[in-house]
Symmetry: C2
Subunit: 144 residues, 2 copies
């Protein structure tokens, strides 16, 4: 233990997978695993269709691209699979400052509003050992 700032993750908030078809993927997540569906919705802004499911107190996001954008790029480049894992921290700006100070590559210098409320920001997978990592908190997003 030392006195470096820490994000002190409370828990895993959610895990996100990119798929070719949300409807097909629900055969795994709902029909087989029996996860509870929170909602299935389309976002024109992000050009995706997404299912939000619960496994215990962790959300599972399953995302399908509906057109050009980062998710379609991901699917074309990497194929379907893991996209990112999100940890809930007490305070996102503190967490980002700690990540930056520790040399992690912070994609979002300032918090963004999360799709489910709260605030989110991503760390680049090149600096997080191949695993895209999101930090989020449950505080209200306030544009600067």
């Amino acid at each position: 233990m030392d006195d470096r700032p820490r994000t002190k993750a409370r828990k895993i908030d959610h895990v996100s997978f990119v798929v070719e078809s949300v409807d097909e993927a629900l055969k795994l997540y709902v029909d087989l695993l029996g996860l509870a569906v929170i909602k299935i919705e389309e976002s024109e802004l992000h050009a995706v269709r997404a299912a939000f499911l619960m496994a215990g107190d962790v959300m599972v996001e399953v995302i399908e691209p509906l057109g050009p954008g980062p998710i379609q790029d991901f699917l074309e480049k990497r194929g379907p699979g893991f996209h990112h894992l999100a940890y809930e921290v007490d305070d996102l700006p503190e967490g980002l400052a700690a990540a930056d100070a520790a040399g992690f590559r912070v994609i979002d210098r300032a918090p963004k509003p999360g799709i489910e409320g709260g605030r989110i920001a991503f760390l680049h997978p090149k600096s997080t050992f191949g695993a895209m990592t999101e930090l989020c908190d449950k505080k209200e997003f306030e544009p600067e």
Copy 2:
């Protein structure tokens, strides 16, 4: 809802990442995120060094290859990153039978002993939309 058999996942048991160096990865998982270390150990059998950490009630496994084997193959082929996500089910043989009946590609036809106790089996990522998926239960492994 229908009468197909379901695994009825209780929760996410763990998520597993392959890395080049466990010690380096702990800069993210322990120094930054502050996850609790359960143990760090080497397995000659699996030719890996692994750290087991807790984020809430979900375990995070970070695995480094120590020599030839599936994890080294994975790292060479895919690079560091997500390896698999494990769901806890009530009864693993029932879960595997349900997965098989639903057309998922079951890698382990019979349960194997888990590294942390209990029983585990994998579903092939080709049939789980790119995400290697493990099913596990907390029952004692009994060789047939």
